[in-house]
Symmetry: D3
Subunit: 132 residues, 6 copies
């Protein structure tokens, strides 16, 4: 079931993850460390998958994570998700990452990525996704 991009919701849904960046999240350049962004991106995709169907999931693939702009201390970063493709045992999820910055709370696009999550049973074996 491949969803054309135009058919996907443009509505601004609640983010799966939204967090405020702290000094402990910085790298040696003083920007937010990419690993921190990737960590939340992974969690956001898993959360999206759990909403689709009540399974356990493991991350199978991260595809084309394109870092567009750095994230700064004090930014509030939101992770929005949408289904790109729903397969038999896996779901491909697009995650858009946006930062709200400074006193004016301007919105900055940070990155966008596709994540493939696989539904697994209690032995870690892929299992058929049965949407709610």
């Amino acid at each position: 079931m491949l969803l054309p991009r135009s058919a996907m919701a443009e509505v601004h849904q609640p983010p799966q993850i939204r967090v405020v960046m702290m000094p402990k999240d910085t790298n040696a350049r003083g920007h937010i460390f990419g690993g921190v962004i990737l960590s939340y991106l992974d969690l956001a995709a898993a959360e999206h998958a759990r909403e689709i169907a009540p399974h356990e999931y493991v991350t199978k693939l991260l595809r084309e994570v394109d870092f567009i702009a750095p994230v700064l201390v004090g930014d509030t970063v939101s992770y929005y998700t949408e289904t790109v493709r729903l397969g038999k045992t896996s779901v491909t999820i697009r995650v858009r990452v946006e930062a709200r910055r400074g006193r004016e709370r301007q919105t900055i696009k940070v990155t966008e990525a596709e994540v493939v999550m696989v539904a697994v049973d209690e032995h870690g074996t892929p299992t058929a996704i049965v949407p709610r």
Copy 2:
């Protein structure tokens, strides 16, 4: 400007903060450590204040944080905020904390608290709040 509780939005707005709880967030009992919840609660209130008016804020007071239910590893915890009272230099914010749990993603009310944030200038002196 004191807002009667009935007048406050029942609409389910996007949360100010939403995060997934990890094993590193646990206490010795295996539940999520209260300090972790309080940390995000503080950040959510500050974020709400920044939406009201473009100032820097410091946390002045935490009032009656009532822990209703424990939070577990794997829970997704959302922090919803609303204005309780807008003063000259301070704003009182109610934060509701909810967890989504397990495969069925049931919603559990975790805690509710009031936080007083004070707008400050670059010297840390309280300054008049000028809403957007």
Copy 3:
């Protein structure tokens, strides 16, 4: 059993918790993040409760945490506790937080709060407190 404040020890007992603040504990303003202070405050109250009687405890309520002064990197922060009220299944504990700062080690009062801890059995059900 409500203890009048004047009857409580003015003697400077050992702190329940004492820690040195590090850069990883800061917020976007460069001060120590309130969530860090609240985390240790919670642990100090639990420690006090365990000294009173050998039970497991959960945090029920944080009452009026009033932030008086910011805490800085390098400060050594002490959490002193005293019993305010000993109930059947709960104990109310006052926590005073003080920072020692700089080369002169001057003492700065940071915050004071009341925490209600509830004794629980292995099922998490409130249980009668039997003091040592």
Copy 4:
């Protein structure tokens, strides 16, 4: 300058990063959190780039991170790197991630990814890579 894969070193060079996984690195399933692996992968690629030429680098793209096997607490995880393509201002780096596990120290392939790092000057503008 595109290097054919066969031409790349099969020699087991020192890893750019090698770390032991701890309980604080786990996710809700008890495996090592993917975000932790991605964080070190990013650092390993940056380290490789710095060895090629003395610039500052930012992560531009993560391409096809394929998670082959879970990582467990106590595993020692090594991040090996090699140059895939050296462009004018960017370098594409392949990172292989291997875990050594258990008393027998068996080697398990964890993931492999390509990372594009861009050399930047002090303003964050892409700058020509001048190899050592």
Copy 5:
């Protein structure tokens, strides 16, 4: 100025550091990670040095850290310090580490070590210690 051990205070002074151990502090064996204990031990020695004389200090030497008993999650660990030898630019400090454990709060000796701290000026050069 070498102080004979017998002359040193047996009085139970307040600890320089006292903290509660959490799951995030564990190693792969489920005990508290030695690195966590060593981190607080270092901070306790620095704190002791600052009490003696108002300088900045760097850790020069850790001597014979003997791990006697493991530390467990939920233990409250106290770091007591005493001066062993006060030199011209350095001070040798003995740190005793004790854990309080379980409902009975029994005291367990964890480790003991000697740490040499050197007073430094703003350039990091050793400077004469002038006690308060």
Copy 6:
């Protein structure tokens, strides 16, 4: 079995641990916190012991950790190990710590220490080391 120092490998073996230092690893002086270095040093020694013989190990003793130079944010720190003495149930390991720094990747000796690791069985009792 005491190995004379001259007999030990001068060959630059792969490090047991190699990591990049981040702002979250700093102390109040802005240098990398000694506790961070000690933590990785402990892990490197344990890793070395596991290579010698397939046992579980606990850290028994840290001997003479001499801090020669501070470590800075952005440094890549390598932990090299060698066997100093192999006893019946314990092994003494020398750990050399080196930092690679700045654009020129110069190598700086940070510290050197001896660590005694004891092989233990599932009850934590010392057990005879049987090398591979």
